[in-house]
């Protein structure tokens, strides 16, 4: 008895320590590269912090300036939300459609799967450069193809009305990751459900809306949240493809923050900008989560009797 008692603590000790050891690299990475900068940027947001020269404490002045004295702040915010409003639904739908296509038992489906996923692994920089060529209004491939079917393409990167569409199209290129997540989920739906449904006389459309969609709602929730966040943080494409233009029509919030920090060297102000976006994203994510109880379906809940 006595011996056993002695052994017990050392056993739990090992049991508790080992898992932490395994995630230690991640913890260190998180502390040093995520939590550290997060905290220091909050402190920086209270300073007038040029890169050369001394930082000066100015309290909440960065935030007041942002809300009262910088029209670009509001413009950028509106543009970014406009982009998110177009991008998120479009991206979700196209990812879902593609996922459905690659779940079909067609010959060569593996090749299609690879092709659809390929753009997602290409670096954003390369994608931006390539789209820059494609969209060139005079010599671009896209307008050439359009001219073949008798359409005179718009000046994609020159006309402010079209520029945001350009960004939406170019960013939809990275739809592969989301498609893959949908794909694995759809693959996981038991075929019996479909069999039963077709015996009952449900067509493919009915099956899609009554079986596929409800089953994958948790995945949809996940994809909605991640793509909202991605849309609000979009930077690479505008930085490299349009530089915020034409006429600041694609001056996204991400670019606004980036330019304030690295072009205008106002690190404090940029930190304040970044924190504001962080809070907006936090609130949006919480709202989406809150709303999820009305439309997301969890099997576990159902088994409990669907009380909630």
């Amino acid at each position: 008895m006595l011996k056993k008692k002695e052994k017990q603590p050392s056993f739990t000790l090992v049991r508790k320590r080992v898992p932490y050891l395994f995630i230690l690299p991640w913890i260190i990475g998180f502390l040093v590269f995520t939590l550290g900068p997060l905290g220091s940027s909050l402190i920086m947001s209270l300073f007038d912090w040029p890169i050369t020269g001394e930082a000066k404490f100015i309290g909440l002045n960065n935030f007041t300036k942002m809300f009262t004295a910088d029209p670009q702040f509001y413009d950028s915010l509106v543009i970014t939300f406009k982009f998110a409003a177009i991008f998120v639904p479009l991206n979700l739908i196209s990812a879902l459609v593609l996922a459905l296509l690659i779940t079909q038992p067609v010959k060569g489906v593996k090749i299609f799967r690879t092709i659809f996923y390929l753009p997602a692994v290409v670096s954003g920089v390369a994608v931006s450069i390539i789209w820059g060529w494609i969209f060139n209004s005079e010599f671009g491939v896209l307008n050439y193809l359009l001219s073949l079917i008798g359409i005179e393409g718009p000046s994609w990167l020159i006309d402010p009305k079209w520029a945001i569409v350009t960004i939406v199209i170019a960013s939809a290129w990275g739809v592969g990751t989301m498609m893959l997540i949908f794909y694995t989920d759809i693959k996981g739906i038991p075929p019996e459900l479909y069999e039963a449904a077709s015996i009952d006389g449900a067509g493919p459309l009915r099956q899609f809306f009554n079986i596929t969609i409800p089953t994958i709602t948790p995945t949809i929730l996940f994809n909605v949240i991640t793509s909202v966040i991605a849309a609000l943080q979009q930077l690479t494409l505008v930085l490299l493809l349009t530089g915020g233009g034409p006429l600041k029509s694609t001056y996204f919030y991400g670019l606004f923050v980036y330019n304030n920090a690295f072009k205008h060297h106002q690190l404090g102000y940029a930190s304040a900008n970044a924190w504001f976006m962080f809070i907006i994203i936090l609130i949006l994510t919480m709202l989406i989560f809150k709303s999820s109880s009305t439309w997301v379906f969890y099997e576990a809940e159902m088994k409990k009797g669907g009380k909630k």
């Binding site: 890169i51 005079e138 990167l157 020159i158 006429l247």
Partner: protein, 412 residues
């Protein structure tokens, strides 16, 4: 339980200590001498690819000859400015670094006048005078010139030949350019006579104002009365009218893509496109920028220099290396990709007689005495962004605001 927590904390501390010491070691290295007793100088370059190799060879040469100094090349590549900025912010800037945007970094750079004076008047006067202007801020020299480019007109010889037009000559006017552009334009073949950026970099565009006797700002940095002066408005109208009349187009980038397509007769830019255009198979010539009536052919200078960090621990050694890097030998080594900045080298290599490179030198000599607004205005990056937006409004086909209206609005 308690023990495990303690151990965990201990582990954390060890791990963190290791991590921090890893960060520290790079710092202490630069303070101390290298193993062989030499002083270590960190040197940052923005060049990429082959150019880096060329620079490394040159540095190896220096290191081999020098008993006391060892230079280490740090190639930062694309995001050069961001990395330099971060380095300066973290008090970990390289001792010597490539530099062009002096006003933005002036507080972090060591004034070099005293070092230069020690080397005598002759040393200083071998550099082209116009370049010192671009390597100083507020009367203090902050860098030694390494390379430069002025802007010139590139013209597509094949398109000229097709129409039987004579190649333009130095001393031509904007009216001549317009006339030529009109003749070159062929709507059916989608050929346009002239192209310029639809969103010109305000830094570059100021040269056209200079040519017409105007500028963005006066010596106090005031826009009002300068940017919207009659001469300035006239300059913008000239460009806008070319678009309206259809013999010029705006380009989406700096214009090289359009020029490479072989469908543009002329465009104005720096020496960067000499080899890319050649590689694209364009048979081109270069000529001086046209003049305005009673004006001069002037160009902005895009200059590169090397500057010393204020925080450098080995300033004498750093300057020793900077002298080597801007000396005759190094200028000659770089001749393939950089226009030499020393008069003696230009003379020895007979560059002024070169039909292509010579144009860049005559533009440089004619452009002495102009100071870009970026060196005068505080907070140029913000001003430049605002100006860029106004220029875009003037040239973008979907707005094409009247220059007078746009510029009057801009100075408010």
């Amino acid at each position: 339980m308690k023990l495990s927590k303690m151990k965990l904390i201990l582990l954390f501390t060890i791990a963190l200590a290791l991590l921090l010491s890893a960060c520290n070691s790079t710092k202490s290295n630069s303070d101390e001498a290298t193993e062989d007793g030499k002083v270590k100088i960190r040197f940052a370059t923005w060049d990429v690819g082959n150019d880096v190799q060329l620079q490394q060879n040159l540095i190896d040469e220096f290191n081999a000859k020098n008993e006391k100094i060892k230079v280490v090349l740090e190639a930062y590549g694309g995001e050069y400015d961001t990395k330099i900025t971060a380095g300066i912010g973290a008090k970990d800037a390289p001792d010597v670094m490539y530099m062009w945007n002096y006003p933005q970094y002036k507080d972090a750079l060591e004034p070099l006048d005293s070092y230069i004076d020690k080397n005598g008047e002759e040393y200083k006067s071998d550099f082209y005078e116009s370049l010192w202007n671009y390597n100083s801020v507020g009367g203090e020299t902050l860098g030694l010139p390494v390379g430069y480019t002025t802007h010139v007109v590139y013209y597509n010889k094949d398109l000229f030949d097709e129409k039987g037009l004579e190649y333009p000559q130095a001393g031509w006017t904007w009216a001549d350019l317009q006339e030529t552009a009109k003749k070159l334009t062929n709507k059916d073949k989608k050929i346009t006579g002239f192209a310029f950026p639809g969103k010109p970099d305000p830094y570059d565009f100021e040269m056209y104002l200079w040519g017409n006797g105007a500028s963005y700002v006066d010596s106090d940095g005031k826009l009002k009365g300068n940017l919207n002066s009659t001469k300035s408005i006239e300059t913008f109208s000239l460009f806008q009218d070319m678009l309206k009349d259809g013999y010029a187009i705006t380009t989406e980038g700096s214009g090289d893509t359009e020029m490479k397509s072989g469908k543009v007769g002329m465009f104005i830019n720096g020496a960067w496109y000499l080899s890319p255009l050649k590689e694209a198979g364009i048979n081109y010539g270069v000529v001086e920028v046209p003049t305005f009536e009673n004006g001069k052919s002037v160009s902005i200078v895009s200059s590169s220099g090397i500057a010393m960090s204020k925080d450098s621990k080995h300033k004498e050694a750093a300057f020793e290396f900077m002298k080597f890097w801007t000396g005759k030998e190094a200028n000659k080594e770089r001749i393939a990709f950089e226009l030499p900045v020393l008069k003696s080298v230009v003379e020895e290599e007979k560059l002024q007689e070169d039909p292509v490179k010579g144009v860049f030198y005559s533009m440089l000599e004619q452009s002495e005495g102009y100071t870009p607004a970026s060196f005068i205005t505080e907070n140029w990056s913000q001003v430049s962004e605002n100006l860029g937006f106004v220029f875009e409004q003037i040239f973008n086909p979907s707005t094409r605001v009247d220059p007078k209206k746009a510029l009057n609005e801009a100075v408010k």
